[in-house]
Symmetry: C2
Subunit: 306 residues, 2 copies
């Protein structure tokens, strides 16, 4: 038997990481309907948007408005992404109770994405984390491009560890390791997670954000599980990445991850069958087939439904 956790938490990011690069703008009503369906399937944390400049991410421009219409639901956390103090101000005004705040471990990615060096981004982000915590907001601090960078290639795990320590010292109790471009392999996932876990101690929960660029998304999830990770990001339909490059680079599909976890005896509280219509609805709205698999497969006699 492979040694795996008994249960994990799934954070769905279809509405944020999934949609942020899509040209077709989704209305608040459409987003609300999708969030409700994802919640109905049993997902307990949903990242529904980000508070970044509408100039760079027009799809995210209605995130404030969306928060105003999301119904409270016991046991369900709505989260959003923030990359600087200005974003935190908007999140506070919108009444957000859980935030993802992140920097990139790659100098080049940081400069291209945030127009700052890694240290400049940290100088802005660390007080932002502290302020959010002081306001009573739950914060998850993320390291983008932690397992490889599309510009630079390999990322030194010591850089990831250095950032993670600063996050912990700023008070973050969940640290997200993001394979932003989908470049990780299972051995690397296992090594980086183990290194961070051993160094940061049991007070810090490590979560993984995986993309399926090279078909290794679920293999990387398996390695993360074996290293003790109990929180995974995913996106319904395997949405995400740029639709204009030939190889799909989406997030791991929530329905595929949940199905696989269930098969391996790892509880998620999510009914993957209820995510299928959500994935098919997203595919319909976007006008193309999505990369996730289980939305397109019949349950069949092999007990896929179980």
């Amino acid at each position: 038997m492979l040694t795996l956790p008994e249960s994990v938490l799934i954070e769905d990011e279809a509405l944020r990481d999934g949609l942020q690069n899509e040209q077709r703008l989704f209305s608040v009503a459409e987003k609300r309907e999708l969030v409700a369906a994802i919640a109905e399937a049993g997902v307990r944390r949903i990242q529904v948007g980000s508070f970044v400049s509408p100039k760079w991410a027009p799809q995210m421009a209605n995130t404030d408005e969306l928060f105003a219409v999301l119904p409270a639901r016991p046991g369900l956390v709505y989260s959003a992404l923030v990359l600087n103090r200005a974003g935190l101000d908007r999140a506070l005004a919108a009444g957000v109770k859980h935030l993802s705040i992140s920097v990139s471990a790659s100098e080049t990615h940081s400069r291209k994405n945030a127009n700052k060096s890694v240290d400049e981004a940290l100088a802005d982000i660390l007080p932002t984390i502290e302020r959010a915590l002081a306001e009573g907001i739950a914060v998850r601090a993320g390291v983008q491009s932690a397992l490889g960078c599309g510009y630079e290639g390999a990322i030194d795990p010591r850089q990831v560890l250095r950032i993670a320590r600063l996050f912990r010292d700023a008070g973050a109790r969940e640290i997200n390791i993001a394979d932003t471009a989908g470049l990780a392999d299972p051995q690397l996932v296992h090594r980086v997670v183990t290194t961070l876990r051993d160094d940061l101690g049991a007070d810090v929960t490590l979560s993984l954000h995986l993309h399926d660029t090279r078909g290794l998304g679920l293999a990387n999830m398996l390695a993360g599980l074996q290293a003790g990770v109990t929180v995974f990001d995913a996106a319904v339909g395997g949405l995400g990445g740029c639709p204009f490059i030939p190889a799909a680079t989406g997030n791991i599909a929530t329905e595929d991850a949940v199905f696989a976890l269930g098969r391996m005896g790892v509880a998620t509280g999510v009914d993957w069958m209820k995510l299928r219509p959500v994935a098919l609805r997203l595919a319909e709205l976007l006008g193309r087939k999505l990369p996730g698999r289980m939305a397109y497969i019949d349950g069949g006699p092999d007990g896929a439904r179980a």
Copy 2:
């Protein structure tokens, strides 16, 4: 660190399992060119066809002719699939030195595929294995639908073990566990492989045949590696399965598997970059994009080539 073998053998099956359901018939010259390119990339075992009825698999009808034109190459094994005595006779006439001989672990699959019960198929296959071995042919004996059946669902691992023991007793020294429909999960792969390995002993090599139907192909490979498997089937481009069903059900792509193995420090002797043009050539001949990933991805700055 995940504990993985130092090296593995890759058997490419693009020409057999990959092409067998394709409508476009490939000429001997085209197949020969593809085999040569796969060999040039460093693959040491290539399953190039099968000796089955041309009525059921017209694509395989020129397998005899193909064997006559394949150049001998040191360290390279050309293999073929045989499902009964008639096939063995054709293979012997063609001078084949390595055969895959298999039965299904699923009663329903066996009846649909071979028009025989599992025990009827075994009664035919076991003497065929013995005769092939007596003729000096290397034999790998395979259990189809060993990890799930598209008709029946779950397959009892005791049924797989029963067949594997009969294969071993007939003299087979490599036993192939095939996830014919791509229904396995990593925990099941690990459990079945471990059960068989513990029972059959070290004289028998276990190999795995994996499909990527649910996006778990490489995760299942990872579980197999952790259970000590050192021989994996794959197909360039991720070819295989029926092109007329919406979810791709191809084999794990050889270039993706080789890339991932290299990244994890598992040697294959194969240069995945040399498989990219083969995958693109297959895509061109078939007139569609194939499901494998690495053929469509630039090496980029992340050292994907390394």
